[in-house]
């Protein structure tokens, strides 16, 4: 009812001679989301050396942008012929996601966009055994335990959809760019929790989140209707007037434009 009232109100404005400002409005529910990364436990089946559990929270600040933060606990153990290495720690990411889908289509349920996050990793690393061989012979050494803080940036294109009211699922690809592993140039971690191999300047991968979603506020979003230039365009689009979203129930006011 509110939507119709709004459309009616805009129609009145247009009739008053404001055709150049033709706009439509939809009611958009802003959500708070909290989810966990399913890919961590799944990847443990493939890579038994790695334990990685992540949770993520986000809050829409408008129809396109959401603030997001995540926490991840990771533990990595590698027992190779040439070294034994362990690292574990907590990583924190914070940033924003941008949704490319327009508000009248996404309705707060769908997202296809990109996120940019800054990550901090608080971790401990140790190489309890290093085996070396050269012309002098073979021997063993060790890297004592040490605590470090690493920094990285994360770019996350991804998609998300609501499968049930209040439950969303979504895939993120991620590209992480290392700023600093925090352990000096010689003792970069074999695995930095939250990032990956500390010797690599860039890491790629994916995360799969299942989230609970709660609407906390509704906002009005103004959608500029498409301008119809000719009847041919109208025919190509199946005779439906431009700017008429299935959810919005708006009109493009062709007679006025």
């Amino acid at each position: 009812m509110a939507r119709r009232t709004c459309i009616f109100f805009i129609s009145l404005l247009l009739l008053g001679g404001n055709a150049a400002l033709a706009q439509d409005t939809v009611t958009f529910p802003l959500h708070i989301r909290a989810g966990f990364d399913v890919s961590g436990p799944v990847m443990k089946l493939i890579d038994k050396d790695l334990i990685s559990y992540g949770v993520n929270g986000s809050a829409d600040i408008n129809s396109s942008v959401a603030l997001t933060a995540g926490f991840r606990y990771s533990s990595f153990n590698s027992s190779e012929v040439i070294y034994d290495f362990t690292s574990s720690g907590l990583s924190i990411t914070a940033g924003a996601d941008y949704n490319f889908i327009k508000a009248n289509v996404s309705q707060g349920k769908y997202s296809a966009g990109i996120g940019l996050r800054y990550g901090l990793s608080f971790y401990r690393e140790e190489a309890s055994m290093i085996r070396y061989t050269n012309e002098w012979g073979a021997g063993e050494a060790a890297v004592p335990p040490g605590r470090h803080t690493g920094h990285y940036l994360e770019i996350t294109p991804g998609v998300r959809t609501e499968i049930f009211p209040g439950v969303t699922i979504g895939w993120n690809l991620y590209m992480r760019l290392l700023i600093s592993a925090g352990a000096g140039k010689d003792l970069k971690p074999v695995w930095m929790p939250g990032y990956g191999a500390g010797t690599s300047g860039m890491r790629t991968g994916a995360e799969y989140y299942v989230s609970l979603s709660i609407p906390y506020r509704k906002i009005k979003v103004y959608i500029k209707p498409k301008i119809q230039e000719s009847d041919e365009d109208e025919d190509e689009e199946g005779g439906q007037p431009a700017g008429t979203g299935s959810s919005s129930g708006t009109t493009g006011f062709p007679s006025r434009l």
């Binding site: 290093i130 070396y132 002098w136 021997g139 895939w171 010689d186 991968g205 994916a206």
Partner: protein
């Protein structure tokens, strides 16, 4: 919305491929053995000297390790003993033998997850006899994988 539901599984498949490929095991192709590089120079002029013959070796309780045996060379590289804080080398230059002792501190260095760790060294001091060697000086104390010259040997 149909388009969105088509994009989601495709993205999921790409994500899975990237995830699996990013944790595949890679072989080691990198150099993991730091070498101490010494350049030989003519005493007085500082010009590069080409030795007619050069042998670098060390005696151990059970055997002799031969590192270099070459003719017509102006520089040589030898590994430091990663199991000790000093290495002793016998340098036979144009048939005359000198002894050089190199002292250093060792530090672990991660080459890569595939290649593992190596021990790099920081030269802290050296000692040499002077049968043919005039001076042995430290040019760059870091014996690592960068391939930089470490010592200048004047004779």
């Amino acid at each position: 919305m149909t388009r969105f539901h088509t994009i989601a599984p495709v993205t999921a498949a790409i994500a899975l491929i990237i995830s699996i490929s990013s944790c595949s095991v890679q072989p080691c192709y990198e150099d993991t053995d730091p070498l101490m590089i010494t350049e030989m120079l003519v005493s007085g002029t500082g010009e590069t000297a080409k030795a007619d013959s050069l042998r670098v070796y060390t005696y151990r309780t059970t055997d002799t390790l031969k590192f270099v045996s070459q003719k017509g060379v102006s520089r040589f590289s030898v590994p430091l003993d990663p199991g000790s804080d000093e290495s002793l080398f016998l340098i036979t230059l144009n048939g005359v033998t000198d002894t050089a002792i190199i002292r250093y501190e060792r530090h672990p260095h991660l080459v890569s997850p595939e290649c593992g760790y190596t021990l790099i060294s920081e030269i802290t001091g050296l000692y040499t006899t002077h049968n043919i060697i005039d001076t042995l000086i430290i040019e760059n104390p870091s014996v690592d994988l960068d391939g930089q010259k470490n010592l200048h040997l004047f004779y």
